[in-house]
């Protein structure tokens, strides 16, 4: 099993690569700790010394200002030193290049690598080649997973909705190419969500996705009926060139989230989006900026959740010791 790589020999989480294979207890611990990390943002000094003297490298082979910035803020609030490397230009012969790059950085005593790459499995590959004291966090790998995004989404849902066992959640858009959707589906499943719906054009729904325990809809109006949470996905515009969707107008007409469509959901529905949003393509501005939208809160929550995940993978090298009073 691939996902076993993220545990050390004592069964503790040492990398954060995928949601798949984690249990409810681990997810809940991360979410609970994130609640405490939220309060640090409210203090005069928004910093705790947990990772003082540690070094975190943001290694992004694919641009993402938002994700990289929240990782950077999260690490700085934990007092770690942060180095940002935008390595998107080093793309020839990549497998070898990435390993070389990361070994060089590891030789400089890096403790945590945050990796974003457009190839699925990059963070797994690196985790396999790292010594035990180095920790890898997946910040999105190809079409595979984006586990920290899913965790901040779960955190945001939990802050507004309490018990997953009562929830109907809709994930809307390009499910096929979305690492965010994949991580969300796993996380929602592990947390015991009552009804997970995926909604999108048939060309953008993976075959056999029902095996993940979700209900599929290609009609947005039907799928949104009575849901408590709507999670929109960002439509990658390059999909249009591949003829998977007809045109942006047509897409918005059938799958764009408008105020009228939000009315089909529960009156207290919350609307989320991982950003950056395409206004007028997958979501109408009035919804994105409307009272049900939590899109900006997601960004804030992302900092606390990433702090919690960093603390989790760095958590005690020797946990059997009792604390001194």
């Amino acid at each position: 099993m691939k996902s076993l790589i993220q545990f050390d020999q004592d069964g503790r989480l040492t990398h954060f690569l995928t949601i798949r294979g984690l249990n409810r207890e681990t997810l809940s611990e991360i979410l609970d700790d994130a609640e405490s990390f939220i309060s640090i943002g409210e203090r005069q000094i928004r910093k705790v010394p947990l990772l003082r003297g540690r070094t975190l490298v943001n290694l992004f082979f694919e641009d993402s200002t938002r994700t990289r910035t929240t990782f950077e803020i999260a690490a700085k609030r934990l007092s770690a030193d942060v180095i940002n490397l935008n390595a998107s230009r080093l793309s020839t012969n990549k497998g070898e290049r990435i390993l070389d790059t990361i070994r060089t950085l590891e030789a400089m005593h890096t403790d945590i690598f945050v990796i974003r790459d457009n190839a699925s499995g990059t963070s797994h590959l690196l985790a396999e080649h790292m010594p035990p004291h180095v920790h890898i966090i997946n910040a999105g790998d190809g079409r595979h997973e984006h586990p920290t995004q899913a965790m901040l989404d779960m955190f945001t849902i939990r802050r507004h909705k309490k018990d997953f066992g009562d929830l109907r959640v809709a994930i809307v858009g390009d499910i096929l190419h979305s690492r965010v959707a994949r991580s969300q589906i796993h996380a929602l499943g592990i947390l015991g969500t009552r009804d997970i719906r995926v909604i999108g054009p048939r060309t953008l729904l993976p075959t056999e996705i029902e095996r993940l325990g979700v209900n599929t809809f290609s009609d947005l109006d039907e799928g949104l009926e009575g849901v408590d949470v709507i999670m929109m996905l960002r439509l990658q515009l390059e999909r249009m060139e591949g003829q998977l969707i007809p045109s942006s107008q047509e897409y918005f007409r059938r799958y764009g989230l408008t105020t009228e469509r939000v009315r089909r959901a529960d009156p207290d529905v919350i609307v989320m989006h991982p950003g950056p949003i395409n206004r007028g393509l997958e979501i109408a501005s009035e919804v994105a900026d409307g009272e049900n939208s939590l899109i900006l809160e997601q960004v804030t929550n992302g900092i606390a959740v990433r702090m919690s995940i960093m603390a989790k993978v760095m958590d005690g090298q020797n946990s059997s010791q009792e604390a001194d009073k």
């Binding site: 611990e29 609970d32 700790d33 609640e35 405490s36 990390f37 309060s39 640090i40 203090r43 005069q44 000094i45 910093k47 705790v48 010394p49 947990l50 603390a311 989790k312 760095m314 958590d315 005690g316 090298q317 020797n318 946990s319 010791q321 009792e322 604390a323 001194d324 009073k325």
Partner: protein, 167 residues
Amino acid sequence: MNSTILPNPDELISAMGASLRSNLVDDPILIGIHTGGAWVAKRLHANLGLTTPLGSIDISFYRDDFSRIGLHPEVKMSEIPDDIEDRSVILVDDVLQTGRTIRAALNEIFSWGRPAVVQLAVLIERGARELPIQPDVVGVRLNLDPSQHIKLSGPEELKLTIMKKHL
């Protein structure tokens, strides 16, 4: 088990309250350290009849042993109910031993602001200090063997027990 008769925490807290009251500056902020210290602080707060709401802190993020033992399994929220700047703070814990918890608590308090004065009130003071930290108000001083672990249980009924430390 130890044959020592352990004092009743509520009686100790009443005595601590009396001692604190005698030199109370106006309107201090009382802050208990999770978990035992917060229970003691709650009773002291009622005993002193303070108007500023009770505060509590979890020092997990400020411990000096994170790289050895990691985060406490359940990190609690820190709640400081009022602006701490230039205020008088009474920090409350159940047991003072090495002083490391208090060091961490002081660091945490200073991340909320700069208090005018911080006093330390502890239910139990025992030896084996590893840092230069002394309490201002003490419920009781106990001479315990290093192999003994003293524990306050609560929160409804506070009770002290002595256990053999698992080494």
